[in-house]
């Protein structure tokens, strides 16, 4: 027996009435982006969800001893394996439904991980799960460093950033490498759906989640998630900063559906990258006169990436005609 689930209407008034599935009482820092991302993902749908969680801020702060902020079945096992763990849960569901031991209730399987657990140590596990074609969605909340262990550099850390393992020193001024472009790498797995989202553009994010849940197979969603501790920004700036990330094209909002790329939110006016960098203490040293080259290099990289995206979107628009 399969249960049908009614789609959720994405209107603030309706959403406000819904029951939260990730609730208050968790111990995330004030102003953290991650719980906002989780709430938006869970709020976007009426489907029953089972989630796995990589070790990290979200995990250590949301389930401590006998307390849990999760109103859905949730499992944490280790750092590098949220994708493999949820793939096991999904396999058991599939097996029991197939054998008639369990009703098919249209359960959706989601893995949550930070950028460390996704881009770096969990990359193999994620890549494997995507290739195997599990019916699951991986959601990365990308705050651009190992924030849980105290702001260490990850492969998602942006160029120039000052972290505790790539500090802005006298000889080496912060991180000198560009970010790994994980969303494109996941799209290159040939999965049916990969997208980037931002909590500032909640409607865009929720639409992506809704769309992803209607697609059978592996899905990947990369969401920017400001961390005021690591970004050295104001406590109440998470949404403003994630909006600036979108408006400067540092964090473009796009989706790759069956290979075809579409930019879902285009800034009316592309703002200079410095507007995103300036409010964050982690980039402060880049504004020193001797580090002007860093600002230039960071801007050039964002421009090149954005141009590339536009070209690719144009290709797919043309191809669809």
């Amino acid at each position: 027996m399969t249960t049908t689930v009614q789609p959720k209407e994405l209107k603030l008034k309706e959403l406000a009435k819904g029951e939260d599935r990730f609730v208050h009482g968790h111990r995330m820092c004030a102003g953290c982006g991650a719980p906002i991302v989780v709430k938006q993902v869970l709020m976007a749908t009426n489907y029953p969800i089972i989630a796995s969680n990589a070790t990290g801020c979200l995990e250590v702060s949301s389930c401590i001893q006998q307390f849990t902020a999760w109103k859905i079945p949730w499992i944490h096992s280790a750092f590098e394996n949220a994708a493999a763990t949820i793939s096991g849960v999904e396999a058991m569901y599939k097996s029991l439904v197939k054998q008639g031991k369990l009703d098919d209730r249209n359960v959706k399987f989601v893995a949550f991980g930070g950028d460390g657990g996704t881009y770096d140590i969990g990359f193999q596990s994620l890549s494997g799960a995507m290739e195997r074609g599990h019916d699951m969605m991986y959601v990365c909340y990308d705050n651009g460093a190992y924030m849980n262990t105290g702001i260490q550099r990850s492969s998602a850390t942006p160029f120039g950033a000052n972290t505790t393992t790539c500090p802005a020193g006298d000889a080496i001024p912060g991180k000198l490498q560009q970010r790994k472009d994980l969303t494109r790498i996941m799209a290159a797995h040939g999965i049916p759906y990969a997208a980037q989202a931002s909590p500032s553009n909640w409607l865009d994010l929720m639409k992506k989640v809704q769309k992803a849940f209607e697609i059978k197979g592996p899905k990947f969603l990369n969401v920017i998630s400001p961390c005021n501790r690591g970004w050295r920004s104001k406590t109440d700036d998470a949404i403003a900063l994630s909006r600036l990330a979108v408006e400067t094209c540092y964090w473009p909002l796009y989706e790759v559906e069956n290979g075809a790329l579409k930019i879902t939110v285009k800034p009316k006016e592309k703002k200079p990258l410095t507007e995103f960098l300036k409010p964050q203490g982690r980039f402060k040293h880049m504004f020193a006169p001797e580090n002007e080259w860093m600002l230039k290099q960071a801007q050039e990289y964002v421009d090149a990436q954005w141009e590339h995206l536009l070209k690719e979107e144009a290709f797919w628009t043309e191809a669809k005609k």
Binding site: P48, W70, P73, I75, S95, V107
Partner: protein
Amino acid sequence: MGKIVAVTGNEACAQALKQINPDVCAAYPITPATDLMQRFSSFVNDGKVDTELVLVESEHSAMSACIGAAAAGGRVATATSSQGLALMWEMLYIAAGTRLPIIMPLVNRALSAPLNIHGDHSDGMGARDTGWIQIYSENAQEAYDNTIQAFRIAEHLDIRLPAMVCMDGFIVSHSIERVEYIDDADVKKFVGKFQAVHPLLDLDNPKSYGPLILTDLYHEYKRAQHEVMTKVPKVVLEVASDFEKMAGRKYGLFETYRLEDAEMAIVVMSSAAGTTKDIIDQYRDKGVKIGLLKPRIFRPFPYLEIADALKHVKAIAVLDRADSFGGYGPLFMEIAGSVMSMASKPAMINKIFGLGGRDYLPDQAEGVIDELIKVAQTGKVPAVKEYIGVKE
């Protein structure tokens, strides 16, 4: 009455898994366990089992997927060897700490470096402290029987712990032996229906798995895990008793051979026990009172029961197919732990043998017994730990 077949250890284990029909298997190939899951994959693709097979990209993910699947609420199995077990190490603790009854045939193989694909117990001994139940098998028949019993032991509601069923790589996994298979229906009945405890798939009663527990309760959590382990021997014996009723083959926490009236004992696990029994027979014919003790359940280790079985001997030789560098062999340390409780303590020697698949030959067993006779006569131990079967 079951069917008598000529099969390898891997084949026998694959047959046991087929008869048990787990809901999910997640596995990654590694010599010499590859062949086991390969055979099982054929059962899956030929529709002979209902198992959802998850062919992961590493052993770390194999155990992670098994953990997810077991927490979801169903019967789960995998298999591995050597480096594969080493890569799983982190997840082994999590499987046990989360109390998930996952069954894993471990085809024992040496650990690198240098790289070696052949049998010894380095892998299993390295996983000694992970919280898994460990059962060692002498031959293909035992590997088959132990696999079937392991599900009952691990899934027992008083236990709910993962279990490894160990057999010697190549020596048992790839050698063809006479094995008596039990009828499918009997195995099914013996293992019974899986009972899920707090399954993740119970959507109406959502559970959180894997919390953070710090200084205030972690210690208590671990003590609880220790207490569960102390309940295992009773369950092992109950399951063995039921198994004997079904299959006619008797199992215990360990096996003894001509030990009752022995003055000396050899303690050795797995396939080497077979060779040793033969040599013991030869010495018995010459009037030498020697016997054997073969541990079956290595974790939890039955210290007191073994002490009772060995209490009358004057000298013990413990043969380890693994080394703890800078320490005595791991099995020796356990037997020394047993001896500690004895009123009069026998002299003990420790021989490291058969590493990386080096053959354990009759002359090695003879050498050990000859030395043991002297140790028993004089009470003197020239060297506690020594490698045997070494090319000088």
